[in-house]
Amino acid sequence: MNKNDALLAYALRLGDNALILGQRMVELVAAYPELEEELANANFALDYIGQARMFYAYAGELEGKGRDEDDLALLRDENEYRNLLLIEQPNGHFGDSIAKLVLFEAFYLRQLEELVHCADKRIAEIAARAEKEIRYHLRHNTQWLIRLGDGTEESHARAQEAVDNLWRFTGEMFAADEVDNVFENEFDGPDLYRIREQWRETVAAVLEEATLAMPEDAWMASGGKAGRHSEHLGYMIAEMQYLQRAHPGASW
């Protein structure tokens, strides 16, 4: 894989992660138990949609085929999305959503911190902006996971179950493939091995404070980064793309 292909693939992945997670959060709008959390969720989802737009716009430019952010977000097939399996998982209950966000954002924040210093100027610029947003998200979501874990017996059990269920999707974040490797080497991109160590430290500290047990590393699911997704993604994309597909070529 050459340098340019890796850069395009990398930008698309960042866009896909932001879009798919943002879309999952959008599904929760108007269904939150507390108004303050309603605001936080909408605000965070807005950050992700904004990040997706920036990454896609850049990916479109890199590709040079005239595709814009909406072409990339709303007119690709399911197997062309390269987001992580973790973030396409259904929302479940509040604890499931919070656990998913903490596990992902503890990774994503490290990834962005590294990208701020990468050799591609545009990626570095977007990452600098996104980093500030995700740092705040992670702090907020971590506080929730701690409250759920160290709250009532019921909330503890639910939070533990959520972490246990999602754990098998965390390995994919650190499993470097060709895109990751080329991007790391050619653009001074993130070292996933090192990020994994930092992630484990962060997550271990949060789980400890939340009085939750850190699951054993066992079999890890993968495939999202290669376009092999869970059944859940297809439905989400069908819903998301409905108007673009039903009215080809229309302006909105």
């Binding site: 709008v29 269904a31 138990p33 507390e34 989802a45 759920l148 009532t152 108007l243 009215h247």
Partner: protein, 330 residues
């Protein structure tokens, strides 16, 4: 906006009210007449307080329930930009709900009490949100018509005699006017688009026009509490005055879009300079207020489910807080 239920009869008559003297009431009215703002700690008649609690909480509930019909198209918004704009709008509405509840709390009622009123079905919210959003054009129609009608109602509320409410409304009005422009822009693009898109816009106007006119509440002749609210300067214009103003402003906008207002009786009256419009189906209005609109059960059901599903989360937060407090005390 969102205060149509204001005209319901008030059944409670607390004892404090019986202790109010004519001198107190006179002095209060003199302050109102002098355009002074009444603040949270000032003396006020019990009926004034109750009216405001009812109006402000209904307004807050409407913001919260109003998130649902728009949220219905959030996952299917046609572009990322439209998705982001709609999301920001819905977030604004949650914010409006939050500070309206805060304004209500200055009158001595807690947010929990107000929310309990909504969930039990006792408190009302604007009837408009009991209509379904069936196509993307409905999101445009809500912004243009529903927020447009809301602004007509709300701008005078910025001068409402009760200070905390008036100040909350200043900010809300700014955001609502932005929302309205966004809604109009959705329809403008649809009307300039394909035949299918334009048909979608016309269909949305057909369904949202009359319910939007109903947002101003009953005709003046049938509006029982309006006179008192006007005297207290909570309300500055009558329902019919505001409705007329809305029609006068909106019909030319529909013409600009190339859409047909679904009213065969609509005609411009040169002499008065106003549009005359057909009779509103008040029976439909009454049915929707009573709970028989297309989405009443769905909207309240979703709110209740969200509240119930969150019970264990709220308990966890409480328990955690207690543990931390105990640790700090030890």
């Amino acid at each position: 906006m969102y205060t149509q239920g204001l005209d319901q009869k008030d059944k409670s008559a607390p004892k404090r009210e019986q202790l109010e003297t004519p001198e107190q009431l006179e002095a209060f009215q003199a302050r109102i007449d002098a355009e002074e703002k009444i603040e949270a700690k000032d003396w006020m008649p019990e009926a004034y307080r109750r009216t405001l609690i009812r109006q402000i909480s209904q307004h807050a509930h409407s913001e919260i329930i109003g998130m649902q019909p728009e949220g219905n198209w959030l996952t299917r918004a046609p572009t990322l930009k439209r998705k982001a704009i709609l999301l920001a709008k819905i977030q604004d509405e949650a914010g409006h709900g939050l500070y309206l509840y805060s304004a209500g709390e200055t009158l001595g009622v807690s947010r929990d009490q107000m929310v309990a009123g909504l969930l039990s079905g006792k408190a009302k919210y604007s009837s408009i949100f009991n209509y379904p959003t069936l196509t993307w054009a409905d999101i445009g129609a809500i912004g243009w018509l529903v927020d447009g009608a809301a602004i007509m109602n709300q701008i005078p509320l910025c001068r409402c005699s009760y200070g905390p409410y008036a100040r909350a409304m200043v900010r809300i009005c700014k955001e609502e006017s932005f929302h309205q422009r966004q809604g109009f822009d959705i329809l403008r693009v649809l009307c300039a688009g394909t035949a299918g898109q334009k048909a979608m816009a016309q269909d949305a106007l057909n369904r949202w026009w009359w319910p939007s006119l109903m947002m101003f509440g009953p005709n003046d002749a049938d509006s029982k509490h309006s006179a008192q609210s006007m005297a207290w300067k909570i309300k500055r214009f009558s329902n019919d005055e505001l409705r007329q103003k809305f029609v006068d402003v909106t019909v030319p906008q529909a013409e600009f879009l190339g859409l047909q207002v679904p009213d065969d009786d609509l005609v411009f009256d040169q002499e008065s300079g106003h549009y005359r419009f057909g009779e509103i189906d008040w029976q439909e209005f009454i049915e929707v207020i009573k709970g028989n609109g297309p989405c009443n059960r769905q909207r309240l059901g979703k709110r209740r489910k969200a509240h119930d599903d969150g019970e264990w989360v709220r308990e966890a937060a409480r328990a955690y807080g207690e543990k931390q407090a105990a640790k700090a005390a030890a």
